[in-house]
Symmetry: C2
Subunit: 408 residues, 2 copies
């Protein structure tokens, strides 16, 4: 969005909307009292917010004895958010309103190895189909959130040397999608957006949460102080390459990892490593889903591997609990579908190696959102961005300059 | 402070001061433009800030062609901060201004095992001596920061089952000191305030920093997103009880730790464990300072132990680097005085076991503040608290109600 002259009388509209985001209707007088602003300033900012669609006057005005006063409320359905959670071979897409309700969603087969233009072109087409089904238009989209199965540079939203995404390195995902969808696009890696989704589900009063995904690989997303901790290079959460250690201090083996080191957690406890181990034992197993399917079919070799993987993941998480002291650990990814078979080992290792103070109120559980964690988390990321006071200020300023511009 | 009726015309004074904290002088017109507030509101808030001493009119008014306009500037010297960093047997005390300049400081012998009243009574007396030497009064103290050598409940500022502080469990340190010093008192554990001090030194543009203290025990302080990460129970940073592991995956021994587990980092790599190992070899060594003194005197046994401790600390930090992706790791505590003898092992283990993306811009170095990290960090904690907009609002409101009240 181009820089434009600021109208100071409406520049604080975003702060006013931040007050109204809780969904309560308020009068001009109440807003003036809450902010210390002059009534005339409040009126000007409300006008700007209404013109831009963020706020509506409620039908029932509020009466306090005398003449009923008009009241104003946040309009969470006027705009929508589009989100896409891309895996190696499958994607989930959704349309949500600003109150985080899922209006429509869809899971499709989509191979990221076909390159960014093919893949993202398909994402755009799926979004258009979902919007059409809702009777909504692109002009109502205020933001787009995308999760990618690889490292993403947070500042630019571009993939950074993603190992399983040929052709994507440095591709300008936000710009490419933004041109076609006409809204700001935020991109992060899939584990980070899943962590945001799980955090949104447990509630905003949970300050510190760790989401660990055990699938083909192993990685985690970290919430510190209610915000995503991405780390200095956006590399935080790469727990798959921590050396696995058992609770009794023994080495967890010397398997060579794809990173070149030996004994990495991912090389001994991931879905890929368990499937490889089963194949070495003559059992047909292609990936993490097969390992869980074998467990469910009563295969004791798969059960033993999954329980052992739980202990190995728990051994690494025990160290992280001592370091980070989270209040919630959520286990997701395909292997989390093994339920207590994997959770038991995780808990056992954490309780035996972490300090009592750090574990007494610690919740360790499987994901409740499952496959939807990504699209929910991407929406939470977009809503926080779009409703940030300075973004709202930009939006209402743009409309003040060009009242015919599309909303968003 | 009692709840009092809010005067909305001055309730935003804190936000005005936040703008002036950068030290630049500004006119009423500039402040009105920056905030979008009416000139009359800016004037009322400036009056309240000046009456309360936070802001002064500069002598040189700013001219922009016409009549020179009065300009206003943050008054960082009108109030002072008192800080105390208590160790088991020694304490460091300091007086700083709001610009973080140390005006006076003192190191004294002080044994926390004499209980809270004796210890804190001595702290109050030392503060009074330092203030008298500066010609300052208690009425000018706007906040007090204290670091204690044990776990502290962050919400209440009370020690929580501190192992080396008999009689301190649950003692109301903030209230006891607050009554005698007449200012808000913030308390945290010593490693957390040292981390704040190191972070203040490296600069506010460093988002993620880990400070690890290797002394009698081993612990760390964590800065995530420029803020202290204390964890859900305030137990974050307890890396001393992570199982030590060598870079080659071997177990680091089965020494029994004081926590009851075996093979903890603290049981193999702390100053206490190294001194015990030297005594077992017939070398006189009481604690961590003796181990470093032996190294400096050319004792090869001490040198070997310290280098090995560096590798063991590095093995644990390698996992933490993969998980947390900090941009700076600072090593402090007595053993850090061994310099490259300990840093070499830390670096070796981190570079061999952490992913290249996380280490390419990682700085690993010894503390620059040394023994002063605690008093500097405690002051940073207090200044952030005291100058927070809502605290300033409370202060100016109190003065509006009672203009004769002491500043602070």
């Amino acid at each position: 969005m181009a820089v434009m002259p600021q109208d100071p009388q409406i520049a604080g509209a975003g702060a006013l909307l931040a007050i109204l985001r809780d969904g309560r209707a308020r009068t001009r007088a109440e807003l003036a009292q809450l902010t210390g602003l002059a009534r005339s300033t409040v009126s000007q900012r409300l006008d700007a917010l209404m013109q831009d669609g963020w706020v509506v006057a409620t039908e029932d005005a509020i009466s306090s004895g005398g003449r009923p006063a008009a009241a104003f409320v946040f309009n969470e359905s006027v705009r929508v958010v589009l989100t896409a959670d891309l895996g190696a071979t499958h994607a989930r897409l959704a349309v949500l309103d600003l109150g985080m309700s899922v209006l429509a969603e869809r899971a499709v087969e989509l191979h990221v190895d076909r390159g960014p233009r093919d893949t993202l072109g398909r994402v755009v087409a799926e979004f258009e189909t979902l919007l059409a089904g809702l009777g909504r238009e692109l002009a109502q989209v205020c933001g787009v959130g995308v999760g990618l199965p690889g490292p993403v540079d947070h500042g630019t939203g571009r993939p950074a040397n993603p190992p399983i995404m040929p052709g994507w390195d440095g591709f300008p995902v936000p710009e490419w999608l933004g041109e076609r969808l006409g809204a700001p696009v935020l991109v992060d890696n899939d584990v980070n957006i899943m962590a945001l989704g799980e955090h949104w589900t447990v509630g905003q009063d949970t300050d510190h949460l760790i989401f660990i995904k055990i699938g083909t690989g192993i990685g985690c997303g970290i919430i510190s102080g209610r915000r995503l901790h991405r780390g200095a290079q956006g590399a935080a959460g790469d727990v798959g390459h921590i050396r696995a250690v058992l609770a009794d201090g023994g080495s967890a083996g010397d398997a060579v990892c794809r990173c070149g080191n030996i004994g990495c957690l991912e090389a001994v406890a991931s879905g890929a490593s368990m499937a490889a181990e089963l194949r070495a034992q003559g059992v047909a197993a292609d990936g993490s889903r097969d390992v869980v399917a074998l467990l469910r079919a009563g295969d004791t070799r798969a059960a033993r591997l999954i329980r052992q993987a739980g202990r190995e993941v728990g051994g690494v998480m025990a160290a992280i609990v001592n370091f980070f002291n989270p209040s919630v650990i959520v286990i997701g990814g395909d292997i989390a579908d093994a339920g207590e078979h994997v959770l038991a080992g995780v808990r056992e290792a954490i309780y035996s190696r972490s300090l009592p103070l750090a574990t007494q109120h610690l919740t360790i559980r499987a994901s409740r959102l499952g496959d939807r964690a990504g699209v929910i988390g991407a929406a939470a990321m977009v809503v926080e961005h779009v409703l940030a006071p300075d973004m709202i200020d930009q939006s209402v300023q743009a409309r003040a300059v060009d009242p015919a511009a599309p909303v968003g």
